[in-house]
């Protein structure tokens, strides 16, 4: 609305001439507006660069030769790009194994966490969003409370529990713990997706004589699927990034996950920055891709009802 008015002021009046003093004022407004636009865009570019630079620096260092890494000069782009570091983390690896093994371990743990967690979260989210039952509010509040419990607080008892169950150094122990850590937020996030599916659709299937399971599988499930994907990606990222439990529960170096393996690049004979940046890049890229896909939904899940629309 106001833009339109401004536009009308700006365009040299055709039907009747704008008085001279007004035109001059309009010109000044236009210059100010342009300056403001330039300043805003410049700040935007600055924010973009500041945010992305560390990520860029990691990737750039991964492809730089050692001469360009170990220098006190500033070399903005790798002018003699090399794949040495990348191939070294695959062949020599770290802590006695190729990085490929750690990537696979991490993927195994994260994918299993997602598969188990998705089933549990979908069942619980359906219960919460489709039924009003005694204890529902208490359950929702319980979800919020357990989400906030620091993993460090659970570490000691869970460590002893895993040891007693003989799951030490086993992927199963780590997977189950990751399911526990991701489930509360998973249910919390998925519940809004289930609630968003119009109940009338289920009623219609119901009337057509579909059973409870058919209704769930043929009507509700396909419509909730995008939400399930978003929730799963969130769980995947959490399990993929998890450090503290993997650090404590896995002592056999063939069972390390990426976050644990990365620690072993430090120490010994100085730090091999090229290799560690190559390995970090390998760990980071899948997460960035996933993040771009679900970012919007993560926000709505986290700030809940605070943002409307």
């Amino acid at each position: 609305m106001s833009d339109l008015t401004a536009e009308r002021l700006r365009t040299p009046g055709k039907p009747h001439q704008t008085p001279k003093h007004l035109r001059k004022g309009a010109k000044r407004t236009r210059t100010v507006a342009r300056l403001r636009r330039v300043a805003l865009n410049a700040t935007g570019i600055l924010v973009f660069l500041a945010a992305i630079f560390p990520v860029y620096w990691m990737v750039a260092s991964a492809f730089k030769s050692n001469e360009q890494i170990f220098t006190t000069e500033f070399i903005p782009i790798p002018t003699d790009p090399t794949l040495d570091h990348l191939s070294r983390v695959f062949t020599e690896g770290v802590a006695g194994n190729s990085i490929w093994l750690y990537l696979r371990n991490s993927a195994l743990v994260a994918v299993s966490t997602v598969l188990i967690g998705a089933v549990l979260a979908l069942l619980a989210a359906t219960a919460i969003s489709r039924f009003r039952f005694r204890g529902r509010t208490s359950f929702l509040i319980l979800l919020l409370i357990v989400q906030m419990v620091p993993a460090e607080a659970l570490l000691i008892p869970l460590f002893l529990m895993v040891k007693r169950l003989g799951l030490f150094d086993q992927f199963l122990g780590l997977i189950v713990i990751n399911v526990g850590l991701t489930l509360p937020f998973g249910i919390w996030m998925l519940r809004t997706f289930v609630a968003a599916v119009p109940r009338e659709l289920e009623e219609a299937a119901w009337i057509d004589g579909a059973g409870r399971f058919t209704t769930f599988w043929r009507v509700l499930f396909p419509l909730v699927a995008p939400g399930l994907v978003a929730t799963s990606i969130f769980s995947f990222i959490t399990a993929w990034n998890e450090l503290i439990f993997a650090l404590i529960l896995m002592t056999d170096s063939t069972r390390y996950t990426m976050p644990v393996a990365l620690q072993f690049f430090f120490g010994q004979r100085g730090t091999d920055w090229g290799a560690i940046m190559a390995a970090s890049t390998l760990m980071t890229l899948p997460v960035i891709v996933f993040f771009m896909l679900v970012q919007r939904r993560m926000v709505s899940g986290l700030v809940a009802g605070a943002v409307k629309g």
Partner: protein
């Protein structure tokens, strides 16, 4: 059609008659399970996991904080009840007080900087053109998405004493300015990660870099939900931008800010991985925070898990208070909960 819909909707709220109603329309073969039990069956597996992996260990942790859990207990010997010994020990330990101080100061600095920077960036993106806005969003999400462990590694590299780019950049400050501000002009070889104060400086920079994008994106989502007519009215009345922010934007975004503040406090109080990587484990005793101190006590050799549990209880209690505020906010905002 409309009639049926409203009847169904009405049924949602008062449960018992609705169910009867539905049965009348679509008679189902009777099952062995009564309808009311269905949600409980759906909930059972998830609840069992949460109870076994979150609630029971939490309870265990409290119990252990009153026990001696050393190497023999880890190997299977029954734990010994020691009363409040663990708590007395940690309260007498200067390291507990320094880690509590580190935790609180770090959280205050990181939370306030994150919120301020995030809000400013959110406001900025809101005023940018579509293409520019999307570019900035992609950039900040990249920062947000980096795994904390990888982020800590990157910042270690940026702050590296010899080849770090931060020291390289600081050398460009005019010598007199650098002398005036920091009392030195040559930054090459400046080790950032030896001293608790500078370790936390790096940690604050890193955590703010990783968490301001979430605040910015949330603030942006909130800004988009404010009706533009409010702004137009204010502009017509000749309000200044600062006044518009104070009288319209801030009050409208208040619930968003409340949630963001609480979430940031909770996250920054329990920062673990980043600090662990920056120091290569709990190496610098003076730079520990509560979660790293608890970890260090519990998994040192010989282990003192009871003491570690006591520290974790203190941390959890602090977080619980913040959490309860958060829950009150959410219950107020979401009608779905009640």
């Amino acid at each position: 059609m409309t009639q049926t819909q409203s009847a169904v909707r009405g049924g949602d709220d008062s449960s018992a008659p609705a169910r009867g109603d539905r049965k009348d329309r679509a008679p189902r073969p009777s099952r062995s399970l009564p309808t009311w039990s269905l949600p409980y069956f759906l909930l059972l597996p998830g609840l069992a996991v949460i109870a076994a992996l979150l609630i029971y260990p939490l309870f265990q942790m409290v119990v252990m904080s009153f026990q001696k859990v050393g190497i023999r207990q880890v190997r299977g010997a029954p734990a010994e009840f020691v009363g409040t010994d663990n708590y007395r020990q940690i309260l007498e330990n200067p390291l507990f007080w320094s880690s509590l101080r580190n935790t609180v100061f770090f959280a205050v600095a990181a939370v306030s900087l994150t919120l301020i920077l995030g809000t400013l960036v959110g406001l900025l993106i809101h005023r940018l053109g579509k293409k520019m806005a999307n570019t900035v969003i992609v950039g900040i999400i990249a920062a947000w998405a980096v795994p904390p462990v990888a982020a800590a590694i990157i910042w270690r590299w940026l702050f590296d004493a010899e080849q770090g780019i931060i020291n390289w950049a600081l050398n460009f400050l005019p010598d007199w300015l650098s002398q005036l501000l920091f009392g030195r002009s040559d930054w090459t070889g400046e080790p950032w990660l030896n001293d608790p104060l500078t370790i936390y400086l790096v940690l604050v920079v890193m955590v703010v870099w990783q968490s301001f994008p979430f605040v910015a994106v949330s603030v942006l989502a909130g800004l988009k939900s404010i009706p533009t007519s409010l702004y137009e009215a204010a502009r017509v009345d000749g309000a200044t931008p600062v006044r518009i922010f104070r009288k319209i934007t801030f009050p409208m975004l208040k619930p968003v800010f409340a949630v963001l503040t609480v979430l940031s406090i909770i996250w920054d109080f329990k920062v673990f991985g980043q600090l662990y990587v920056l120091m290569s484990g709990p190496t610098n005793r003076d730079a520990l925070n509560l979660s790293l101190f608890s970890f260090a006590e519990a998994f040192r050799s010989p282990p003192k898990m009871g003491t570690g549990a006591a520290i974790a209880v203190v941390l959890t209690l602090i977080l619980l208070i913040v959490t309860l505020i958060h829950i009150r906010q959410i219950v107020k905002q979401e009608d779905d909960i009640r």
